[in-house]
Amino acid sequence: MMAASAALRTHAQEVPPDHTLDITPFELEVAAHRTIKTIAYNNQVPGPLLRFKEGQSVTIDVTNHTGGGEVVHWHGLFLPPEVDGATEEGTPLIAPGAHARYTFTPRPSGFRWYHTHTFAGKDLHKSQYTGQHGFLFIEPRENQARYDQEFFLALHDWEGQLEANPDGSMDPVYEVSTINGRVLGFGEPLRVKQGQRVLLQILNSSPTEVHWIAFAGHKFEVIALDGNPVPQPRVVPMLRLAPAERVSAVVEMNNPGVWVMGEVRKHIMAAGLGIVIEYAGSSGERQWIEPASLSWDYLSFTSSTAPSGQRPQAEPIPLVFESKFAGHGAMDHWTINGKSYPHTESPKLTAGRRYRLQFINRSTNNHPVHLHRHTFELRKLPGNPETQGIMKDVVLVDAKTQVEVEFVANDPGSTLFHCHQQNHMDAGFMMLFQYA
């Protein structure tokens, strides 16, 4: 059904599009007297907020003004492989100077995002290391959200360079970290009023880094993860977002002042990851309250009641994540079940069947793994607690732990699965599921 309503064309269209995206080199002013040469959508970082209506066809014209091939991935949507935005699935690359039209019917509703999905390798100024990311909100047919103001915030890291890890491999570390392309204190604060309920739509668009976010003097009521409502909204002191994860949280504005919301870890906030939130009528120095420790648990949001009816049996698919040493001067290579992409296995899925992916992480790195074109349900978290009802498209599998998720194979076509850390997916941490 979706395939009939979706297409990507690479020649000029007669009918004007609903939206246009121009991929262009861009100089981003992250701070006073500090610009970063990058690539952006429509000369802004993040790219424009695109709001689509669920189930209503949309066309987006994308023009690539850069010197390298590009593709735009519509992260979290159930789209056919030819427009999902991964060349591994079959979406064509947009050649330098070329134009492409993406036409599709967006679903499901919720907070999604779009970003480049190309290879960066050792070049830490390409692909997700650039500013090629933007918010995508699929509006439900009936909007029941209750809030007074909404902010979309993207966490990102810039100017990476490879440094040695204690485990003997190399990983990127970053000089600059931003929220919506600016360091803490640069640019306008978020302005709020006392008594408001503010909905924060937070995306971690970092190429490789997990981020922990706290809002001094306030708490977050988490209502959705990766754009999907959680079974039990919970009030938490801080958020943890792995690369590509999203958190939708409501904050009660009940503590007037000038506050900082930002990274809990000192060195990352010092690199700029923070934003000022200013109540109307408040002034003075911004205030930050250092949390005592890190806290986050997916289990907080699990459903307390078992689903009605018999849950269909899920076929297990074990996926073992391991690293292959490539030298103290190189990034590790990555394997799934002993093989690196493009030599990884391609399990055959049967449409309509339920599968249980068993992520067995034997490496010393954490991995934010992402399944394209589907949503999965968290079923088992480290320490063996069973969970249910939390629907996501990215889950962080901590080092030396096991996480299990279930999904229904309900969207035929090539389906990419990969670690969302750019350097891991570039070094083999990808595989394709195929439908029988």
Partner: protein
């Protein structure tokens, strides 16, 4: 005057003399550019044995043959780009027992990561005293540029060191050139192996004849068992007449972190 001209002028003023050798076979190590992190300390024990060395006492200096050298090196990180190291040199030899040989101090700075240089670059300078029965040049100074680079499994480090005697018979011999080079290969995450080359060519601009130069070639292995530990083991030969012919070396280092561990850092 440009900065490099000042450096040249300084070197020219120092070029009156050179030592035969600064640290001898007490610390046999090619330096990498990385420095010890602030609020942490690296303690290393350098153990070097000379199975086949100088067998005769020359100019009052004990023979090196069958000497066991134990050197304690303590390096304290100062900033993210600087450190200072202290050395205590000792020697054990049949007939002489355990003897204190001397002490050195070695401040070192490196190019910060934020400069994005394609290679690691560092400069150390080392000043110290050693007893005349172990080295006729009792006060020596060394400046050691350090350039290194990891390339996948390969590692290359070059230390084109310059040495000078401040007190001793070689005080008028000028600046000596004593390069060291290391090339190693990572066989796996733990075991690396390679070659280390150490030399003292003699006075800068008027190198000694090959007969009088000191040259040593070591086959070494580095065992990366843990970020806390440093292990380097090697066996070397000295092919020239002025070099100890056969040396065994080992470095055992332990890293101590004094920072209070916090997930928030």
């Amino acid at each position: 005057m440009h900065k490099w001209m000042w450096v040249l002028a300084l070197l020219a003023s120092l070029a009156a003399t050179r030592p035969l050798r600064a640290q001898g076979n007490y610390e046999i190590q090619v330096y990498g550019s990385a420095t010890v992190e602030p609020k942490s300390t690296m303690v290393e024990l350098h153990s070097n044995f000379t199975p086949d060395g100088q067998k005769y006492r020359i100019d009052g200096v004990y023979p090196t043959n069958h000497q066991q050298h134990e050197t304690l090196e303590i390096t304290q990180g100062l900033t993210s780009w600087s450190e200072v190291g202290f050395y205590v040199f000792t020697s054990w030899q049949n007939g002489h027992g355990v003897q204190w040989v001397g002490d050195h101090i070695r401040p070192r700075v490196r190019v910060p990561d934020s400069w994005h240089w394609p290679v690691g670059v560092s400069v150390s300078t080392e000043i110290g005293y050693q007893r005349a029965v172990y080295s006729p040049d009792t006060w020596t100074w060394e400046i050691r540029p350090i350039v290194d680079k990891y390339m996948g499994r390969w590692y290359v480090a070059v230390n084109p060191a310059l040495e000078r005697t401040w007190h001793g018979p070689d005080v008028k011999q000028g600046i000596g050139f004593a390069p060291a080079v290391k090339v190693s290969y990572d066989f796996n995450r733990v075991v690396s192996g390679g070659i280390e080359y150490y030399a003292d060519y003699g006075r800068l601009g008027a190198f000694d004849s090959l007969h009088d130069q000191q040259q040593q070639l070591f086959v070494v292995t580095d065992l990366n068992v843990s970020p806390k530990w440093e292990i380097n083991i090697g066996a070397g030969v000295g092919p020239t007449a002025s070099t100890d012919h056969w040396i065994i070396k080992a470095i055992l280092g332990r890293h101590f972190d004094w920072k209070k561990p916090s997930a928030l850092d």
